[in-house]
Structures are given as C-alpha cells and as structure tokens.
C-alpha cells in the first residue's frame, strides 16, 4: 500500500487513470495525488479548467480527462511532483511519451539516453529524452519528456541521468 511503502499499487492507481479510449486520443494528465492534503496549485494552473476540487483545498484533485488537453501546464506547478503527462498517440510504433517534473542536476539534454525507473526506483529500461522544458517561469523545476515502451507507460515514473 502507498501509505506503508511510498509506492502506489496498481489497484490504488486505477481511479486516476484515464480510459483506454481517452489515451488513444493523445496527451493527457495523470494526477497521482491520492491523499486529502491542503494543496491546490494544480487547479489554477490548468488553462482549460479541467482540474476541480469539490469542497475546498483538502479535496483530492478531480481531473476531467475529456477536457484535459495534456498541455502539461500543471506538471511543474505541483509541489508534490505528482503529475505526469502520457501521450500514447506517438508517431513511433510501440512507443509512448511520458513527461514528468525533474529537479535534480544535471538536467538531461534532448536526445540523451537516461535510465527509466519504476515507482520503487528500479531500472526498467533505457529511454531517450524527447524534450526538456525549463524556462525561468518554471522556477527550476524542469519538465522532462522521455520516450518509453508503450506497455510500460504506467510503470515508469522517474529517470536517472
């Protein structure tokens, strides 16, 4: 269980995963924030108002997958680094794109090969960096996109440069 190990189980993850039909349409956010902590920057970060909190800031964020465009504006705003963008509609067969916040040094460069890690920090595979966004407005939280095997998209959640 997440609360014992820090690792989200696949059962716990289910409610925040978009449906297969939505995944096929293109990039979408997955918000792995499963606890009612007092925090809401993701709500105001979303330009299309796809993230809602029903009864105040200790609510868990509710993402409307159909409204979400997968733009990634919420990713660097999350203090918990808990938001990921998955893009299953990638032009390389068998591959998908995964974007995540990255706050370690060195920040990888585009096309660099990095280790893709799972939720326990275990090596999954090598992955190519497809994109790095690190503007001053992100205040030192880079958003790194890697190309990963499409069938491992829900397992990979970190990189080692």
């Amino acid at each position: 269980m997440l609360k014992n190990t820090g690792i989200i189980t696949s059962e716990e993850l289910k409610p925040v995963l978009p449906a297969q039909t939505r995944l096929e349409k293109g990039p979408v956010a997955i918000i792995e924030c499963l606890q009612d902590i007092p925090c809401d920057p993701c709500v105001s970060a979303c330009p299309v108002k796809a993230i809602q909190m029903q009864s105040g800031i200790t609510d868990r964020p509710q993402l409307d997958f159909e409204t979400c465009t997968g733009c990634g504006a919420c990713v660097p705003k999350c203090p918990g680094l808990a938001i990921f963008i998955v893009n299953m509609k990638h032009n390389v067969p068998g591959k998908a794109l995964l974007s995540m916040s990255y706050e370690l040094l060195p920040v990888p460069a585009k096309d660099q090969e990095v280790d893709a890690l799972d939720r326990a920090g275990k090596f999954v595979c090598k992955a190519k960096v497809a994109r790095v966004i690190n503007p001053p407005a992100y205040d030192r939280t880079a958003v790194v996109t890697i190309e990963v095997p499409a069938d491992r998209i829900n397992d990979i959640r970190a990189i080692k440069v």
Binding site: L2, N4, P38, D40, I57, P79, G80, L104, D139
Partner: protein, 365 residues
C-alpha cells in the same frame, strides 16, 4: 541603553515576520529581534515548493517566500525596526524585556509582545547516539541549503514526517546517497506524494522499524535497524545492518517556550501540538494579556499556518494598543478562514484536536 516600542516581536521566522509586517502596516511602531544573522527562520533553507492555497504561497519555494517577506519588512521600515544577531533573553515586570546583541545588552519597553520563538528538534534514544555524524534534520538543512556543505556521503534518515521526507529529497538533490528512511509507525507520517518522490529515486522506506544503535568508534560507520511490533517493541532476530557515514534524525519538534514561562503565561501540555505550549485564545493572546504567540511556539505546524497565525497576532496586538480597527478585523477574518481550510481534511486532524483543546482550556480559566 534602552529602547521603546509599541509592539515587540521576538523571532524573525515566518510567524514573527508576518506579525511584524501586519502590526507595522496597521500603524504600530514595531521592533523585531532575531538571534540569527539573516531573517527568515526556517524559510531560508526550505528550497522546496510549498503546499497550501494558491491564493497564498502554494507552489512557491520557501526561500522565495523569505525574500518576499523581507521585502515587505523593508517597505515598512519607517515604522518597523529590525535587529539581527540579537536575542531576547528575558522578560521583566512592567512590560520590559532584555535583548542581547553581539556588543550590547539593552532593555526594551513595549506595550505588547509577540513571541515567535519557534521550536527545537527532538532527539532519539539509541546506543551511540552521540557519535559525530548524527544530526538533526534542521541542522542538515542548514549545512546543506544555507552553507552549501554536504553532511556526508551516505545518509540514513530517521522519521517519515514531512521534514524527514523533504530533507531526504533535498539530500538527493545535493548529490548525497540516502540509504534508507526509518519509521517506527506502520504507515508513513508525512504527505505520501513526498514519500513517492524519494521512493521512485530508489530510497527504501522501512516502516515499522527503529534504529537500535549507531556503529563506529570515532564517527558513524553504520546503523543497526530492527522491526518493531504494534507496541513499538523490537522483534527479535530482525536486525539489519546498514552502512552509512551519517544519520539524520527527523523525529519531531518541541515548542521553544522558556520566554512564556518567564512572562508567567499559563502553559498546557498538548501532545498533538508538540508538548508544552502557552495557553492562548483565538486572538493568539496568552494568559499574560501583554504577550501574544504565533508560529511553532504556539503548536508545531508548518510555515504557511505560522504566517497566518502571525498575521492574526500582529493585528490583535495592534488592536490591544490602538483599539478596534476594521482593517485589523479584516486581516484576522481572512487568516482565520485560510487556517480553517488548511487544517481541514484528514491530514489536519491532529492539529484540529490540539487547537480545540487549547481553546477549551482557555475558556476554562
């Protein structure tokens, strides 16, 4: 030498800075003293983004919040005097206190004091816990994030509250290997997103474990852990040796309360708030009507609630001198509503119990 002020704020952390800013903005002559060389308290080492409401400071790094508060202090400098490297060392009768700077001892006479002394770190009892290389998490943060010094190469973290989790992450950012995080409880104490963040970077989290002893002669060379049962008793034959050159203790904080006792404020022990705290009402006023409290000294929480408590104390201390003010009332109302939302939900449960108890006890006196 002696100084005269309307409001005397002790402590330049998030609570004290907020109290001094509000009091001086409302129009009170304010003196703020802090015993360190740089204002900001714990904020100056908090390199992570804050949780909370985006109406306030959520998503902003603690170090940036410190800069924002210091700018407000500067902007209020016609009414607000700041003395760094100056400690408040005692209260006298007749609304007087003593302050000690590097080259002078002075008396301060005030009309209202706001005491925001923060907290001290708890230690833990285990064999060899006095070996060089065993630090408190606050000490590690100061070394690393203020002075740029790594505390070690391989570090073991003890305690899974937000401080233990966040400092582990900051150690990874500094290039230090975190060999594990130990927690006596069966579940992680801090926010789970912080735990996931270090877990996916490879840090093992040992819940239901404790540290039995530190290994080494002249410095830390390792640690022996073991599993504990539901009554926190070591389970035989579960010992596990971990190699490390540093052990970091993040096992809670205790309010720093000596000045309140000296000011003859009534104290109450509330476990949920970290131990003995001065009794205080919803205006943050203690049982000594000239003394207000805010921040961790009023109960261990975190920086955002400390700032809001500071704003309430600053506004009410102003009113205690200048009478009712609609502007002060508005500041208090806003801060109260924000505190209410921050403390709602399951993660705020213990704090709510603790604060309710303080208010109940105040009502009873």
């Amino acid at each position: 030498m002696s100084r005269n002020t309307e409001i005397f704020v002790i402590g330049g952390g998030p609570a004290g800075l907020s109290a001094a800013i509000v009091a001086s903005q409302l129009g009170a002559r304010t003196l703020l003293v802090d015993d360190s060389a740089r204002l900001g308290g714990q904020l100056i080492k908090q390199t992570h983004r804050f949780f909370g409401s985006s109406n306030r400071d959520a998503g902003i790094r603690g170090i940036t919040i410190a800069e924002m508060l210091c700018k407000e202090v500067k902007d209020a400098s016609d009414r607000l005097t700041v003395l760094e490297n100056t400690a408040a060392v005692g209260f006298y009768a007749n609304k007087e206190a003593g302050i000690l700077s590097q080259d002078a001892y002075e008396r301060v006479s005030y009309q209202a004091a706001i005491v925001c002394t923060g907290a001290t770190e708890n230690s833990l009892t285990f064999e060899n816990n006095d070996l060089p290389g065993i630090y408190g998490a606050g000490g590690v943060q100061t070394l690393m994030n203020v002075h740029g010094i790594k505390p070690g190469r391989r570090i073991l973290m003890v305690g899974s509250g937000n401080i233990g989790l966040i400092v582990s992450y900051q150690l990874l950012q500094a290039g230090v290997e975190v060999v594990g995080l130990v927690e006596g409880m069966p579940t992680i104490g801090g926010y789970l997103v912080h735990a996931s963040k270090i877990r996916r970077l490879g840090v093992p989290i040992y819940t239901s474990h404790t540290i039995l002893k530190a290994l080494g002669e002249t410095g830390v060379e390792g640690a022996v852990l073991c599993r504990v049962d539901e009554r926190f008793q070591p389970v035989p034959n579960t010992e596990l040796t971990i190699e490390c050159d540093c052990i970091c203790l993040a096992v809670g904080l205790t309010p720093l309360i000596d000045l309140f006792q000296q000011a003859q404020c009534r104290m109450v022990h509330v476990g949920e708030l970290g131990g003995l705290v001065p009794l205080h009402d919803s205006a943050m006023r203690t049982t000594n009507p000239d003394v207000f409290v805010a921040g961790d000294a009023s109960g261990i929480e975190e920086a955002t609630t400390a700032m809001l408590g500071g704003r309430i104390a600053g506004a009410r201390a102003y009113e205690s001198i200048h009478g009712k003010s609609p502007k002060a009332e508005a500041i208090v109302e806003e801060a109260r509503e924000e505190l209410r939302t921050l403390r709602s939900g399951s993660t705020g449960e213990r704090i709510r119990w603790g604060r309710e108890r303080v208010l109940k006890e105040v009502g009873a006196c």
